[in-house]
């Protein structure tokens, strides 16, 4: 399953980082603590968060995460968009809350 495959299902809007849309998704991690993501997220996972500042791209890049999903319609900060395009890490936003988007993703990923 690629990022491009879940955009429609989850009604996601791509904010930036289109270069990474073919990234393969291996799982999902939900956290708003950056050190928690650094310590515990695994390569290829989608990261669901409400943090929107540019340090999320650095974390996603270091951990080789597939993409970042911002919840509740949050938008990324300017610096985040720039770095996301530079690093080819897609940043997407959904109007859903964390519980809902994680629930849908859980079903999608477990089915595979």
């Amino acid at each position: 399953m690629k990022i491009a495959d879940i955009i429609e299902t989850l009604d996601l809007k791509l904010i930036s980082g289109a270069g990474g849309l073919q990234n393969e998704i291996t799982g999902c991690y939900v956290s708003d603590l950056l050190s928690d993501v650094i310590g515990n997220a695994r390569e290829g996972e989608l990261w669901i968060t409400l943090q929107t500042h540019q340090n999320i791209i650095a974390v996603a890049s270091l951990k080789d995460l597939a993409a970042i999903i911002l919840v509740r319609g949050l938008t990324a900060e300017e610096g985040t968009i720039e770095k996301s395009n530079l690093e080819n890490i897609p940043v997407l936003t959904t109007t859903l809350d964390t519980f809902s988007v994680a629930g849908i993703l859980y079903q999608l990923i477990k089915k595979k």
Binding site: L33, L34, I38, Q51, H53, A58, L62
Partner: protein, 141 residues
């Protein structure tokens, strides 16, 4: 191979730049992906610590065929009780830093987990030196 990176205290817009450039160098040198990843993660956490707590810092990186050695030296408040700072969950980060999702008291533990050797020395009121060493080849004891 040896190079140096500067870190500006308080500037979160540049936090991760040193880690990111070291990652690129290690990729160019064809260092094994999982080995490179660990040291870069440890460096990133160290870099964030300098940005969050110190006034300024430098990262010195030495790479040879056996190991990657990183020394992070900062001018800052220092760490009065290193043992306490190492405890997961302990943090002296400001409210602003915590709101960004940092300051959960996991940074030093992550650094330890992602390095083969870590040493911290600090003089309160002056600054902190963190030394990180990762073996490039699996350790054959």
């Amino acid at each position: 191979m040896q190079f140096r990176h500067k870190i500006a205290g308080g500037d979160f817009s540049k936090a991760g730049n040193a880690a990111s450039s070291v990652k690129k160098v290690l990729n160019q040198l064809n260092v094994d992906h999982s080995i490179a990843k660990r040291i870069v993660i440890a460096l990133y956490e160290g870099e964030v610590n300098v940005v969050a707590h110190a006034y300024s810092g430098v990262v010195d990186v030495q790479i040879d065929e056996k190991q990657i050695k990183i020394i992070i030296t900062d001018k800052g408040p220092g760490i009065a009780d290193i043992e306490q700072a190492m405890k997961e969950g302990f943090s002296t980060a400001s409210q602003q830093v915590r709101e960004m999702g940092f300051g959960a008291g996991m940074g030093l533990a992550n650094m330890q987990k992602n390095s083969d050797f870590m040493n911290i020395s600090s003089v309160p009121g002056e600054g902190t030196v963190v030394e990180l060493i990762n073996n490039v080849r699996p350790y054959e004891g």
